[in-house]
């Protein structure tokens, strides 16, 4: 038999310092007396013998100190060992308990795992996206520069504006302009589109990156007309060159021109995100216009210069520039934004919202487990009362409960991490491009630490709740009560009831949030875009830059497009094939100012004409702003954009014929209210560089572009056969009858025309779905959280009502014995559940009323206090609570009174 450590210690060791010292003194006195006797027997005198014995003994003080310190250390070790042993004992006990009720252990750990998993997954996204600094040296110095127009909107930079900023500001160590685009990389006949960025000379210096391999650009490569040198991304290096160092100096074919690879960038440092190829901006001519806002600009603020000072510097510079140029520039002012804020600014509130939602879920999970623990405490009240009676300290009891809770939390934490891992994988496959920096995400140490921390917090809270409930046990009351009932008293029900109410209230908040997002999403998805969205396939053919500059190239491009359209039209199931220079729903390929040329003599010499045009541009009545899109007549038929008046483009509108344009209803209404736009002559050279005037021949219906929630913008359509266009892509819009898959045969047919042109297929539905990706992402997550919360709350209601039924079994039996019907009993029990649900719903509704405000920016034409969402959720909650309490109620109504009364 094992003797408890405490007992061993009490019997073996003196319990205090004084006792140790006293024992030692006894021992020493005995020794010295024995020696004195012996010496006296050898002939020493009494005093001599005593003195000699003491001398022979040595330093008694030193010995005493030595022994006391050793004993004290010993006792500390014994205490620690005892504590460890008691924890181990509690662990064994807890494991035994959980083995005895595996259902409880499973539900409790799964519940905790759900809470911890959801919170950890969202936290790792928040941490990776928002909290971690950008992967560049001194990332806080990196900023995005913006111009500001007359209305206070951010503006990109025009070449001369950027040059002026680079010349006149003093706060930046490096400034660089860059523009994103695409290149077609061709290798052994197979073409691939990659994201490319044209970057000015100080770009890599501003980021303060070093190449993984090779070098960045040298001045000879940054000259007008120089052969293109490129720096490639780590990903492209791996996929194209198998991560071979011999990639440096190799030649690729990009947009049908040979380009030389000079360097490889390190993984994770791609900027702008997703770029695969960087090339010097200087090899192309600069645009001298102050209103060609084609460039984004990043800068690195000089060491020791505050961001605010840099902002003032930029602002003053641009204000001075505007003062000297006047109307020639639209850039009135400027500002800077930290690069990280620029990248993650939009997603930040979304992510914090999700973190909040997951935290609420964790709280609900905790409430559920606390509820379960208390239910078990009530069942174990007798055991605990007995343990208290035989002398178990309350602290010792609390320790045991804490160990139980910790064990649950530890398993829950591990389960939660696994769930988080799986959850993050799902999260990332959902819609990666709607979250920036998604490539940097992983379940890393901070996330792990976070999971452990919240699990530990959960364990402490649960342990405290349970021991507060358990260790306050009143022995007599409990033992006496156990004669009457099968569990604890009414206090326990009250606590559990309030926990369920809190749970229900939090569930209501989550569900109302999800409901509002769902309502908004449905509103968005049922918006009339003004064109057909189902069954329309878009093929994007990347001809590349420079295919529309010479007459010969234009002819070739037109011929190619013609051929492609003919092939597409011949495919089975295809009803119409249109062409544009931009995807549907993309907002057109360009936008800018047009001039109405009524009165201007378009046959005058170009120099004089320019003067006229400049004058007219300032005249609001004769100038306007519109988006611009190249389209064929069938573009409108394929997308079923209605013709409101006039005609669409037709066969007569060919190169050389008088140039024509279509406008949409929004432009017609804005520019010529109450007047027909047909026959008006427009000039659009400011946008596509072609000064040839166009005559408006038709008005088409409005379409929503880019964002479903945005109102239709004024738009001009020009004929694809008449304007060369400057888009590197041909977008073929293929309307189908919907029954035959068209992508694969179209791909084969297009390859036969030209194999070296990369083709990408998408559908209009997909394009629109992409535009609402972040809304869908939010809805999905909040919806899942709300669903899980509802499940947990249902479990909570069920368990607390079951408990009530068990507790009041005797009373119910008496009622039945006295003649109550089964329906009376059901009503009696269900009423309790519904009462909980009503209180929870009321509290939750108030909380939701106060908190759904945070969703405002995410909602489209749904109020944050939308009555339908509120009412729907509250009704749903009550129905679910009703169902959850009906099961135990039915059980109660079937109790056999005599069994209960005899058995009790």
């Amino acid at each position: 038999m094992r003797i408890p450590a405490g007992v061993r210690r009490v019997f073996r060791l003196p319990s205090s310092r004084e006792r140790i010292a006293r024992d030692l003194d006894d021992e020493v006195r005995f020794h010295v007396e024995m020696r004195t006797n012996r010496l006296r027997n050898e002939g020493y005198s009494e005093t001599e013998a005593q003195a000699e014995a003491l001398r022979r003994f040595g330093d008694v003080e030193d010995l005493r100190d030595y022994c006391v310190s050793m004993e004290v250390a010993h006792m500390h070790r014994a205490h620690a060992r005892e504590r460890m042993e008691s924890v181990a004992q509690d662990l064994r006990f807890a494991l035994r308990q959980f083995r005895k009720s595996p259902g409880f252990a499973f539900i409790a750990t799964l519940t905790l795992a759900l809470g911890v998993g959801a919170t950890t997954a969202i936290f790792s996204v928040v941490n990776g996206v928002v909290l971690q600094p950008l992967p560049f040296a001194q990332p806080e110095q990196l900023v995005q520069l913006w111009g500001i127009d007359a209305k206070g909107h951010h503006l990109s930079f025009a070449d001369p504006t950027f040059d002026a900023v680079a010349r006149d500001t003093r706060s930046f160590a490096a400034l660089a302009e860059y523009a994103r685009g695409e290149l077609s990389l061709v290798e052994s006949g197979e073409a691939e589109r990659v994201n490319a960025a044209a970057v000015s000379s100080q770009f890599f210096r501003a980021l303060r990156v070093t190449p993984l391999l090779g070098r960045f650009f040298v001045p000879e490569e940054q000259q007008l007309g120089a052969p293109m040198a490129v720096v490639i991304s780590h990903a492209l290096w791996v996929s194209r060159f198998g991560a071979s160092p011999s990639a440096i100096g190799k030649t690729l074919v990009a947009d049908r021109k040979p380009v030389t690879v000079v360097g490889v960038l390190r993984e994770g440092q791609e900027f702008p995100a997703g770029t695969d190829v960087w090339y010097p901006r200087e090899i192309f001519e600069k645009n001298t216009s102050y209103t060609a806002h084609n460039w984004r600009v990043i800068g690195r603020v000089k060491d020791g210069i505050p961001i605010e000072q840099a902002r003032r510097d930029l602002s003053m510079t641009l204000q001075r520039l505007h003062a000297s140029l006047g109307e020639a520039t639209w850039t009135f002012d400027g500002t800077i934004v930290g690069l990280r804020d620029q990248i993650v600014g939009n997603i930040k509130p979304l992510l914090y919202l999700l973190l909040g939602a997951s935290a609420v879920l964790l709280l609900i999970a905790c409430a559920n487990v606390a509820n379960l623990l208390i239910a078990r405490m009530a069942v174990r009240e007798n055991e605990i009362a007995v343990r208290l009676a035989i002398g178990a300290g309350r602290a010792r009891l609390a320790q045991q409960l804490l160990v139980e809770a910790s064990l649950l939390s530890a398993v829950g934490c591990i389960g939660g991490l696994l769930l988080a891992l799986a959850g993050m994988r799902v999260l990332l496959t959902l819609r990666p491009e709607s979250i920036p920096r998604v490539g940097e995400l992983r379940l890393d140490w901070p996330a792990l630490a976070f999971a452990v921390l919240i699990s530990a917090g959960t364990a402490i809270v649960l342990g405290l709740v349970a021991s507060w409930r358990g260790a306050r046990g009143d022995l007599r009351a409990s033992l006496a009560q156990s004669q009457r009932t099968q569990g604890g008293g009414g206090a326990s029900y009250r606590i559990r009831g309030s926990l369920v109410v809190v749970q229900l209230a939090m569930t209501v908040v989550l569900l109302i949030g999800a409901g509002l997002l769902a309502r908004s999403f449905v509103r968005l998805m049922t918006i009339d875009t003004g064109f057909r969205t189902h069954g329309v396939v878009v093929a994007i053919l990347s001809l590349g830059e420079g295919e529309g500059t010479t007459a010969e190239q234009v002819a070739r491009r037109t011929q190619y497009t013609h051929e492609i359209v003919a092939r597409a039209r011949a495919l089975p199931g295809v009803t119409a094939v249109g062409v544009s220079d931009a995807e549907p729903f993309s907002g057109g390929s360009s936008n800018g100012q047009f001039i109405e040329l009524s009165g201007a003599d378009v046959n005058r010499a170009p120099a004089d004409l320019m003067k006229d045009l400049e004058m007219m541009m300032r005249d609001k009545a004769h100038a306007g702003y519109a988006t611009y899109r190249l389209a064929s007549g069938d573009y409108f038929r394929a997308l079923r954009i209605p013709l409101l008046s006039g005609r669409l483009f037709d066969e007569t509108d060919r190169a050389g014929a008088p140039e024509v344009a279509l406008v949409n209803a929004a432009l017609a209404k804005k520019q010529w209210p109450g007047e027909s736009p047909l026959g008006k002559v427009l000039e659009f050279g400011n946008i596509d560089g072609d000064l040839t005037p166009m005559t408006v021949v038709g008005v088409v219906g409005d379409t929503r572009e880019e964002e479903l929630a945005a109102d239709p913008q004024p738009a001009i359509y020009v004929c694809d056969r008449q304007r060369p266009g400057n888009s590197p892509d041909v977008n073929v819009v293929i309307a189908t009858s919907g029954s035959t898959p068209v992508t694969a045969p179209a791909f084969r047919a297009f390859r036969q025309v030209r194999a070296d042109v990369p083709v990408r297929f998408t559908t209009v539905d997909d394009i629109i779905a992409r535009s609402v990706a972040s809304q869908r992402f939010m809805l999905l997550l909040v919806g899942v959280f709300g669903g899980v919360a509802l499940l947990l709350a249902t479990l909570g209601v069920y368990s607390v009502i079951s408990y009530l039924v068990a507790q009041r079994g005797r009373e119910i039996s008496i009622r039945v014995a006295l003649g109550a019907h089964a329906s009376d009993i059901v009503r009696l029990v269900v009423r309790q559940g519904v009462a909980l649900a009503l209180i929870g719903a009321a509290v939750g509704a108030v909380a939701a009323f106060a908190s759904t405000r945070v969703l405002r920016s995410l909602l489209y034409s749904v109020s944050t206090t939308d009555p339908l969402a509120f009412a729907g959720v509250l009704v749903m909650l009550c129905v679910v609570a009703l169902a959850a309490s009906y099961l135990p109620a039915r059980r109660a109504s079937r109790l056999e009174p005599m069994d209960v009364l005899r058995g009790g």
Binding site: R12, D23, L24, D26, E27, V28, F30, H31, E33, M34, R35, R38, R56, F57, G58, D59, V60, D62, L63, Y66, C67, M70, E71, A73, H74
Partner: protein, 110 residues
């Protein structure tokens, strides 16, 4: 097995105490007398050091103690060997013998 001098002295006293207790339980004074007698008066031990060793060995679990009555009817603390102490004695005695033998051989041949 190489040992330094201070270690040797501690170890020596410990192993002698263990040896002393190998037959029966003894109180501190009896142990001191036994060692002096067996050592032929060559080994004179400071008593305080002996008691330090006793308490050290007890703390390590090699010996245990119990209050008893001495041959002259006095209250005295008796020490006896535990199983662990017995094992320790065997190991240390063997080591010590090897060590002494090695020192002896060096001194003889040099």
């Amino acid at each position: 097995m190489p040992r330094d001098a201070s270690d040797l002295l501690h170890g020596t006293l410990d192993v002698l105490v263990l040896k002393t207790l190998s037959w029966d339980a003894k109180h501190g004074y009896a142990i001191a007398e036994w060692i002096e007698k067996r050592g032929g008066g060559e080994l004179v031990i400071v008593d305080a050091a002996l008691y330090k060793a006793l308490h050290r060995l007890e703390d390590a679990g090699s010996i245990e103690s119990e209050w008893g009555v001495s041959e002259n009817n006095r209250r005295a603390k008796y020490y006896s060997l535990t199983a662990r102490g017995r094992a320790q004695l065997r190991a240390e005695a063997a080591t010590w013998k090897r060590y002494a033998h090695a020192v002896h051989r060096i001194l003889e041949t040099a």
